[in-house]
């Protein structure tokens, strides 16, 4: 069993195939051999019977035995011998047995004529009882002989049986033919077995080629080459489907990996810019600017700003990773009109004098996490504030959709072009605008809002037109 398990799939399938081939060839060969033997024996038997029938009829009539009454003395060793002689030929010998089972005469005269086997008691009894077609094979000194028993009766279908003719013929000729046939069959079977095994080995290799390709691909990926893809040879069979599924999985993984790399690169970029300011300012201070109070104050203020930027960045990064790993959503019923009246009073501090208009929607209760929702809305709101003029109001409204509620946050700010719009959910992405870098956020507000909304089981989308303002749509399940 161990050795079997250690074999390759191809070897196992090939062995199984060869085994089935041998089994079917053996069964087929043996049954065909047996059938032909039977056919030969049957035809020989009928041939002998057909030859014996007119001879016996002629003998009955010449010896006056074809009378309805049962013959007594008319049947004797003399006429029995003449019958046996008539029936005996080169390939068959006849003996005649009387009603008591005693051999009356044997037809064998010449030495080349086959020797007759002694009649079998049991078969003889059945023949004397009236059974017509008794044929059996006996072995006499290494040769098999076909033995026929023909009951002797005065007229066909007469119940009176006065003797039995036993005809026996050697089966050497049949054996010879069958030996030749069998050898040919064996040769053919061996050829078929060889060809079948080779073809089986080749075919299993062919159908397992996809798997082997996949294995090669896996090994290459294991060595760090992530760009390779498995070859899909036939997209209809299982290995082809496996390869396509595998490739799809690789694409997904590669995209995720690339996104992660991009994220790390962006994060590093965002960290390095303030660090450049810090390092340079420190160096300039150490190189002598510290002696000048005016220059020191300017540099220190800049450094303080950069440190704050780093702290904010780290906090956002931390928030991001926390959200992506395991965010605990504490759902509770939230009545939207109440939630938004609370929210508008809390938002006053960040509105920088702008008006926040809550447009009352339907009285809806949503099962969601109010803290998380508040954070999402704060993120969206601070974006809206950053990119809209001080006198433009920001509107929040909501409406009911089948099975969910849609919240809209609309500003009348700068808006975005489609290219910017397509990238706003990328971490660290910042659209081009006339804002100075200090006024920019970190490019994490919307990505954070998106992951929070998704943690709540909802979705976020944005409609925006350059110069016309931006509307953010949040849909949350009820």
């Amino acid at each position: 069993m161990k050795a079997w398990q250690r074999l390759s799939l191809r070897a196992r399938l090939s062995l199984l195939n060869a085994f089935l081939l041998i089994l079917s060839l053996v069964v087929l060969g043996w049954s065909s051999y047996w059938n032909i033997w039977q056919l030969f024996v049957d035809s020989k038997g009928s041939h002998l019977r057909a030859r014996a029938k007119p001879i016996i009829e002629h003998w009955l009539s010449t010896n006056n035995l074809d009378k309805p009454r049962c013959p007594g003395r008319n049947f004797n060793a003399g006429n029995a011998l003449s019958l046996a002689c008539d029936l005996t030929s080169r390939d068959a010998v006849a003996i005649v047995v009387d009603r008591k089972g005693e051999v009356l005469a044997s037809g064998r005269r010449l030495s080349e004529e086959p020797e007759a086997p002694p009649p079998d008691k049991a078969y003889l009894k059945r023949a004397l009882a009236g059974e017509n077609e008794i044929t059996h094979v006996v072995r006499v000194k290494d040769t098999r002989m076909l033995v026929l028993l023909i009951p002797l009766r005065p007229l066909p279908a007469s119940p009176c049986i006065f003797g039995v003719v036993q005809m026996s013929a050697p089966l050497d000729d049949i054996n010879q033919i069958l030996f030749r046939h069998g050898s040919m069959l064996l040769m053919l079977a061996l050829v078929l077995l060889f060809a079948g095994s080779v073809a089986g080995f080749w075919l299993t290799g062919l159908s397992l080629r996809g798997l082997r390709d996949l294995l090669d691909t896996c090994n290459q990926i294991g060595r760090g080459n992530f760009s390779v893809r498995a070859r899909v040879r036939n997209r209809w069979d299982e290995t082809g489907q496996l390869a396509s599924a595998f490739n799809r999985m690789l694409d997904e993984l590669e995209a995720a990996l690339a996104a992660q790399k991009r994220f790390v690169a962006n994060a590093a970029h965002e960290l390095l810019t303030p660090l450049t300011g810090l390092r340079g300012s420190l160096e300039v201070l150490l190189r002598g600017a510290q002696d000048d109070p005016v220059a020191s104050a300017r540099l220190l203020k800049g450094m303080y700003r950069e440190v704050n930027r780093l702290v904010r960045l780290c906090e956002q990064l931390l928030g991001m990773s926390r959200l992506e790993s395991s965010y605990v959503v504490k759902r509770q019923p939230v009545i939207l009109p109440d939630f938004f009246s609370d929210f508008s009073s809390q938002a006053k501090s960040i509105m920088e004098g702008r008006r926040l208009v809550i447009r009352q929607g339907p009285h809806v209760t949503v099962r969601t996490d109010p803290d998380l929702m508040q954070q999402v809305l704060f993120n969206i709101l601070s974006n809206a504030i950053r990119y809209s003029p001080p006198d433009a109001p920001i509107q929040i409204g909501w409406r009911l959709l089948p099975g969910q509620v849609e919240i809209q946050v609309a500003d009348q700010g700068e808006g975005m072009d489609p290219r910017t719009l397509s990238r706003v959910f990328e971490p660290f992405f910042q659209g081009k605008s006339d804002k100075s870098p200090g006024e920019h956020g970190l490019g994490l507000g919307l990505p954070l809002a998106k992951s929070m909304v998704e943690a709540l089981g909802g979705s976020i989308r944005i409609r925006s037109k350059k110069g016309r303002g931006t509307t953010v749509f949040l849909t949350l399940p009820l």
């Binding site: 590093a268 970029h269 390095l272 810019t273 303030p274 660090l275 450049t276 300011g277 810090l278 390092r279 340079g280 300012s281 420190l282 160096e283 300039v284 150490l286 190189r287 002598g288 600017a289 510290q290 002696d291 220059a295 300017r298 540099l299 800049g302 450094m303 700003r305 950069e306 081009k432 100075s436 870098p437 200090g438």
Partner: protein
């Protein structure tokens, strides 16, 4: 770079234009380069930077790659297309080889990745200015009776050779570069011993006293102790 002739600061300063949008980086570059004796102008985006370059000749441009309007590569290409051959030093965060290649292909002369060391920036500025060959930097500094050769590391006073330790050599080089300027002990410590030296600043007093012993074996005295501030070199012999 300041060329010092007969102990007087050369009033022909190099003009450097800094094109950078980050206010903190702009600020420290302006202050730091100013302290090193460069005339610094700044521009917050590529358009105003290119405009400034058309209006006035500069000796060197420090160009950030990430600018709010067009990127630094494109700005550099436009600058070169306009026929300017001013040395350009690019600053960027990206470290990939392809970015460096693009930077240099776009016509930049050198490349520095953020966050860079200010000392390295100064070294590269000096190298670029030297290579641009417009006003080659002297390797020999002269101040009164003193000469200092930065290549052969020979120091003479009135033709007589003086042997200095490396620290004393750096100290004297700094003094000779900015004659009469008062350096505090802290500044001298940072610039001579390195930023990471965290011993006390009286080590500077020790080095200055050694330097004095070697230089001022006969009058007049050259190094002046400014009470409550630090030290300054008076090449014309008004030391104390």
């Amino acid at each position: 770079m300041i060329i010092i002739m007969d102990g007087h600061e050369n009033n022909l300063k190099f003009n450097i234009l800094v094109i950078e949008d980050d206010p903190v980086i702009t600020e420290f570059l302006r202050t730091g380069l100013g302290y090193e004796g460069y005339e610094v102008a700044t521009a917050g985006d590529a358009a105003s930077g290119l405009r400034a370059l058309r209006e006035k000749p500069y000796d060197l441009v420090i160009l950030d790659v990430m600018l709010p309007d067009i990127d630094g590569f494109e700005a550099c290409r436009r600058l070169r297309r306009s026929g300017s051959d001013v040395p350009v030093l690019m600053l960027t965060v990206k470290k990939e080889v392809s970015d460096r290649v693009e930077g240099l292909d776009s016509g930049a002369d050198d490349y520095l990745t953020k966050p860079f060391s200010f000392a390295e920036l100064l070294a590269r500025i000096r190298a670029l200015l030297r290579r641009s060959g417009k006003r080659p930097e002297k390797t020999r500094l002269e101040a009164g009776s003193l000469t200092l050769d930065r290549e052969t590391r020979r120091v003479t006073r009135n033709g007589r050779e003086i042997t200095l330790t490396p620290t004393e050599f750096r100290l004297l080089e700094l003094f000779m570069r900015y004659p009469r300027r008062v350096f505090t002990r802290e500044t001298l410590l940072n610039r001579v011993m390195g930023y990471e030296y965290d011993g006390g600043s009286n080590i500077i007093d020790v080095h200055v006293s050694h330097l004095r012993n070697k230089l001022e074996d006969r009058p007049p005295k050259l190094i002046r102790t400014v009470f409550g501030a630090g030290y300054a070199l008076y090449p014309d012999g008004q030391g104390s």
